[in-house]
Amino acid sequence: MSRIGVFICHCGENISRTVDVERVAREVGLLPGVSFSTDYKYMCSDPGQNLLKNAIQEQKLTHIVVAACSPRMHEKTFRKAVEAAGLNPFLCEMANIREHCSWVHENKEEATVKAVEIVGMMVERIKKNRVLPGITVPVTKRSLVIGGGIAGIQAALDIADCGHEVILVEREPSIGGHMAQLSETFPTLDCSQCIMTPKMVDVANHPKITLHTFSEIELVEGYIGNFQVTIKKKARSVDEDKCTGCGVCMTKCPQKKIPNKFDQNIGLRTAIYVPFPQAVPNTPVIDRANCTWFKTGKCGVCQKVCGPGAVDFEQEDRLIVEAVGAIVVATGFDLYTIDEKPKGSAIKGYGEFGHGKIPDVIDGMTFERLASASGPTGGKILRPSDGKEPKQIVFIQCIGSRAREKGISYCSKVCCMYTAKHTMLYHHKVHDGQAYVFFMDARTPGKSYDEFWRRSIEEEEAVYIRGMVSRLYQKGDKIVVMGSDIAVGVQVEIEADMVVLATAIQPQKGADTLAQKLGISYDKYHFYSEAHAKLRPVECATAGIYLAGACQGPKDIPETVSQASAAAAKVMTLFSKDQLEREPIVARVREAGCVGCLACKKVCAYGAIEEKEIRDRQGNLIKTVAYVNPGVCAGCGTCQATCPSKCVELDGYTDEQIVAMIEAL
C-alpha cells in the first residue's frame, strides 16, 4: 500500500493569491492513499526541501506529489530532493497549480476547486508510477557553432582553447558578420576591423576549429551529447585547398559593377569576389547569378588567369555530416528596412518616409560603411545620390523600434549609442557640418555609455531634438525633415543633405526555419528563446543547444561577447563528463505482443527504433520485433499512439497512468 505525501507550495503569493492552499492541503489529505499533506510558502527553497525530506523519513512516505509550478521549472529540483531522502526520483511528480491554475484564473473559489482536482489527478497517477532506472549515454566532445560573427567567433575560440574540436558554419563567404562592417565602436571609438580581424585570423589558424563558410545547416538529428548535423557546403566555384588568395581573378573579372552587400550595396564588386579585403578565408567565391560564364557560357577569364587552377565551374553543392555533442547558435541580426512590405504582413514599412526610395535617406549600417576607412568611399562621408559631402545631416532614432504600428514593440538597445557615435564620426570628418538627432529618449545604461552620449552633445556639438519625425520628402536636392521638439512644443523643420535612420534590429532572415531544424523555440519576432530569462539565459529549452548574441535579442558587442563566452562555458560543463545521465522517460516494447509490423519505426522522428530478431535456443528465428534504443529515444510517445496492437508503452506516461488521471476527475 502506497503512502503518498502531498506538498502544496504558495510560490510566494503567485499561487496563494488565487488558490486557498491550506484548503487544498486539507482536502487532498482526505484522498485514499494520501498519508500526509502540507503547505509551505516556498517549497523549492532550502527549508521547503528539508520539510519534504524530513516528511519522507518521518512519515515513511513512498510516493511524493509536489503541487507548485510547472515541472519545466522545478521537477529536477524536487526529484533531486526526493532522491536525497532515499526514494527513487521517478516516484515524485509535480502537479502544476501555477501556470495551469492560479495564473490564469481570478475567482479564488473556482481556482481552489480546480487546484484540488489537479492534485487529485496526480495522486491517482503516482500510484501507478514505477521505479525507473537511470540511463546514461556517451557524450561526443565536439561542438557545432552556427554563425561566424563576433558571437560565433568568440564561442568557437573559447571552446577550442579548452581543447575541444569546433565546427564553425557561416552562411556568407567570409566570417566576421556585422562587426566586420562597422567603422569604429562605442564607447571607446576603437576601430572595429582592428579588434575583429585578429580574432578572425585566430579562427582560421586554430588547429581545433574546422571552418565551413558559404555553408548552411541542412538537417539536425539526435539529442544532447549526440547530434548528427548535415551541413550544405554551397558551390564556391573555387577550390579552397588550391586557392592561394592572390586575387588576380578578381582584378581580371570583367563584371565589375555588382552592388556589394557587405558595403550595403553602395560599393561595387566583381562577379568572382571576396566580400572585403580582410575576409577569412581569403578565398573568392563566384556569384553565379552575375557571372558571364554562368550566364552565357563564355568568358572564363578567372579560370585562365588562375595559376594554381583553383577555379572550378563544375563544382557542386556538397553535403557534410558531422557528429557533435553540443550546438551554439549565433546567427545574429538583420536590419529592419523601411520599404513597402507585402499586404497583410505583420511588419510595415514607412510610407511617410518614402518607403526607402529617397536616395540620400540611408540606414545606420550604410553610414558605418561610409565612415569606414576600408569602405567604398575610403572613409569619406559622401552621399549616395551625387557623391557630395553632406553639410547638414539628420539622424533619426527609433525607426521600426518601439513602433507597435510598424509591428515591432521592442527597443533595439544599441541605436542610441551608435547614433551618438555617428554624430562624432561625422563631426571628425566634416568639420563645417552640423548634425541633428531626432530622438525620444536616450537609453544609455552601460559602462561609460551615458558619458559618451553627453560627449556627442557637449563636445561634438550635435543638436539633439527630443521628438519624432512625421514625414521626410525630397525637395530639390534637399530632404525636408518634418519633426517636432516636445520640450518647447514647436515643429522643427530641417532641410537636410542626408538623413540616417537608426533602423530596428531584427533576427536574421530564416531564423524561424533554422529553429525548426534545431527544434528550439522562438518568440513572435523570431528571436530565439532562452530556457529561463534570468537563470538560464544562454541555454535553449532543448538540451544541448546554447545561444549567443543578437539571435536571442538586440545586444551590443560587449554583451554579445559575454554571452558567447557563457555559452562556451556551458558547452564545456557538458563536455566535462564522459557520460551523460538521461531521463529514463523512454518507450518500451512488450515483445510478447509485438507482431513486428514496425509501424512504430516508420513514425519515429529520432530513429530510435530498430528491428530485433528473437530466436530459440537452436538459433531458429521465431519472430522479428521492434526494439527501442533507450539512448536515442526522446520520449515523445508517437510510437505508443501508433502501435496497432498496443504493445509500446512510454515509461512514466503509460496508458494505465493516463487513464487513472482521467478517472480521478
Partner: protein
C-alpha cells in the same frame, strides 16, 4: 503652474478612453503627432501636449483651451502614430466633453460653425451652404466676410438660393430627439 495630486484627475482619462475607444496611457510622448500636424502652429498646446496634459489629469486646461477646436480632423496623427494611439478619436472625445460642458472654450467661431451645421441637419436634413454661410456671418458679426465670393459663386450656379426639403424630415427629427432622450436617461454619453 504647479501640478499636485489634488489637481490630477486621472479618472477623466477613463471617460476619454471609453468615448474614443483608444488608449491615452499608451502614448509615450514621441511627438510624431505634433511633427506632422497641419494645425499645430495654430494651437496653444500642440497635439502631443494635449495627450500629456490628459495623462496628468489636467483636462480642464484642454477643454477650456482652443487646441481641440483647431484640430482639422485630418487624422495625420492617428495614421502615423508609432504606438497606435488614435489621437483624432481622442480629440473627438475631448471636443464632445467640452461641448457638453457648454463651451467654456475660448474658440467660439469653430463652435458656432459646428452648432449651425448640426442645426441645419436637424431642420433641413441636409446642408445648405449659402444659408449656413449667411447665418454664420450674421451670428459671428462678420457681415462682410467672403462677400466677394458670393456673386461669383451665384453666377457659376454654385450657390443655390432655394432648396427642396427632404420628404422624410420627421425621421431625422426623431433621431435627434431619441438621442436627447437617451442622454437624459443616462443611456448614452
Amino acid at each position: 503652474m504647479i501640478i499636485s495630486q489634488e489637481t490630477m484627475d486621472v479618472d477623466f482619462v477613463r471617460k476619454v478612453e471609453a468615448l474614443s475607444d483608444t488608449s491615452v496611457r499608451r502614448c509615450f510622448q514621441c511627438g510624431k503627432c505634433s511633427a506632422g500636424c497641419p494645425m499645430a502652429t495654430f494651437m496653444e498646446h500642440p497635439p502631443n501636449r494635449v495627450v500629456r496634459l490628459l495623462q496628468l489629469g489636467q483636462w480642464r486646461r484642454i477643454i477650456e483651451g482652443r487646441s481641440i477646436w483647431y484640430c482639422a480632423s485630418c487624422e495625420t496623427c492617428s495614421t502615423r502614430c508609432p504606438n497606435k494611439v488614435h489621437l483624432a478619436s481622442i480629440m473627438d472625445a475631448l471636443r464632445k466633453l467640452s461641448w457638453d460642458a457648454d463651451g467654456p472654450s475660448k474658440e467660439s467661431y469653430v463652435q458656432l460653425a459646428n452648432k449651425l451645421f448640426l442645426q441645419n441637419i436637424r431642420t433641413y436634413g441636409r446642408q445648405y451652404e449659402m444659408r449656413l454661410a449667411a447665418v454664420f456671418n450674421v451670428k459671428s458679426g462678420q457681415f462682410l466676410k467672403d462677400l466677394m465670393l458670393g456673386p461669383k459663386l451665384l453666377a457659376k450656379g454654385k450657390l443655390k438660393m432655394f432648396h427642396s426639403k427632404n420628404k422624410n424630415l420627421s425621421e431625422i427629427e426623431k433621431i435627434f430627439s431619441r438621442i436627447e432622450e437617451m442622454r437624459k436617461n443616462g443611456k448614452a454619453l
